[in-house]
């Protein structure tokens, strides 16, 4: 299988381990990633403040490049990039005039054919294959953290459900993990305020870390470089805010699955985390089969 691939800027720098683990995992699943030729930054949240057209242009140029390369689907691991590309796609979907205007701005034809997929949506298709390839069951209590942009707004992302989403939970269950029910699955981590309003990030991300710890999660699992960086890189500020030292590691979903599939931790970029990835003893295997469980 081949699929288009839009890494976005952070996967090439501060979220390098995300790209490394995405690539390692996809290779293990025989999924070939075709990087969009000459892709550019999606403009993040900054472009839109300056000019809606600029934002639309930056995003659409990537989709147009993907079209030109003959791709139908584009995997976009960064949740922010995913949401931006998906939004641009939706905005132009039923507005041919605007579509033409933007095509003129970027100097490329654009038909709107390419679909944008986030990492969970793609991996969900391979859930059975992943389950079949498990070498080291990931038997931990995990806090599945989806954040904002994977599930909101629902009409843009067209993915899972907006409250208490399940796709990541299902994937991790498939490799032996036990997702905890918790309150912060889709709460905001502070997102783009990482640099400018570190205080806000420490406060919001602090609540997330605290809830995960309180409910005995061994790790927080994410699918977004911004979430990861706020929960990981900003841990000193978080701990300061919470007045407590929390060492709970923050893994990308691709890293957690990669570990379960027996991929080398180095290859998954675990060494690049600021909060060291130290997992406790795995939970004992649960013997009772689900089938006999009667809810009544």
């Amino acid at each position: 299988m081949r699929i288009g691939y839009y890494p976005g800027c952070s996967l090439k720098s501060s979220a390098r381990e995300y790209e490394e683990s995405v690539r390692a995992l996809c290779a293990a699943l025989d999924l070939e990633l075709v990087e969009i030729p000459d892709w550019n930054c999606c403009g993040a949240s900054s472009a839109h403040v300056m000019s809606a057209d600029l934002a639309l242009g930056l995003r659409t140029r990537n989709l147009a490049q993907a079209e030109a390369a003959g791709l139908d689907e584009v995997l976009t691991p960064c949740a922010a990039c995913f949401s931006h590309l998906a939004e641009a796609r939706m905005e132009l979907a039923d507005n041919p005039n605007k579509r033409q205007e933007v095509a003129d701005f970027i100097g490329l034809p654009y038909s709107g054919r390419v679909r944008v997929l986030n990492v969970l949506a793609v991996l969900d298709r391979y859930r059975d294959r992943i389950a079949a390839k498990v070498k080291n069951p990931f038997r931990y209590k995990v806090a599945c953290y989806y954040g904002c942009l994977l599930v909101r707004p629902p009409e843009v992302v067209q993915f899972d459900r907006p409250e208490n989403p399940q796709s990541m939970d299902r994937l991790l269950e498939a490799v032996g993990a036990k997702p905890i029910p918790w309150a912060c699955k889709t709460e905001c981590c502070g997102a783009s305020f990482s640099v400018t309003r570190t205080d806000v990030v420490a406060n919001l991300s602090g609540r997330i870390v605290a809830d995960a710890v309180k409910r005995n999660a061994a790790a927080i699992v994410v699918a977004c470089p911004m979430c990861q960086s706020n929960l990981d890189l900003r841990r000193p500020e978080i701990n300061q805010q919470l007045e407590q030292e929390h060492g709970i590691p923050v893994l990308y979903i691709t890293q957690a699955l990669g570990l379960a599939l027996g991929i080398d931790p180095q290859q998954l970029g675990l060494q690049r985390h600021l909060v060291p990835v130290e997992l406790p003893e795995p939970e004992p295997e649960v013997v009772t089969a689900d089938d006999d469980d009667d809810d009544d």
């Binding site: 839109h48 930056l58 707004p153």
Partner: protein, 193 residues
Amino acid sequence: MNRSLENAKKTTSLASQIQAATGIALHHCYQCGKCAAGCPVADTMDLPSCQVLRLLQYESPEFDRQVLQSEAIWLCLSCETCHTRCPQDIGTPKVMNFLRGEAMRLRLAHPRSKDTQAFHHAFLGSVGRHGRLYEIGMLMGYKLRTGHLLKDMALGSKLHEKGKLNLLPHAIEDKAALKRLFKQTLNNPDSKE
């Protein structure tokens, strides 16, 4: 107050501009407060989102100005929680985005927003130059604009240690196309949102 209400020109009010630019009809808001109730930063905001919408509903120059001068519009994280739960399907983050642009254009932006503005400028500057984000370049630009020269220095060196910072920019090939895009869209008078 009454006069300013009468003077409110539907054509120039922020609410009407927002409707024209985004299609969002602010008069659909019936002030249930669900947006503020779920907003992660509502308690930090000087005007919680529902108040921002309420002020805009008056379509008065006085209240419009108060909104543009508020810090709240700079605190919105675009997390879309409010929009997702809004019974009237009002896309508040889009509204906030529009307001930020207007506040900058009219030079009314809240003083504490200058870091954020500087960040956006530094970010776009970097993207405009290289086509992709060059994080060190962007951060340097930001620090120069804000004067926060020493902030996050330790973090920077740690990132470098972990191999997470590129010392040189990765530029795209077709820079000319990008330059054209920036030029056309930033000068496009219709493109205020």
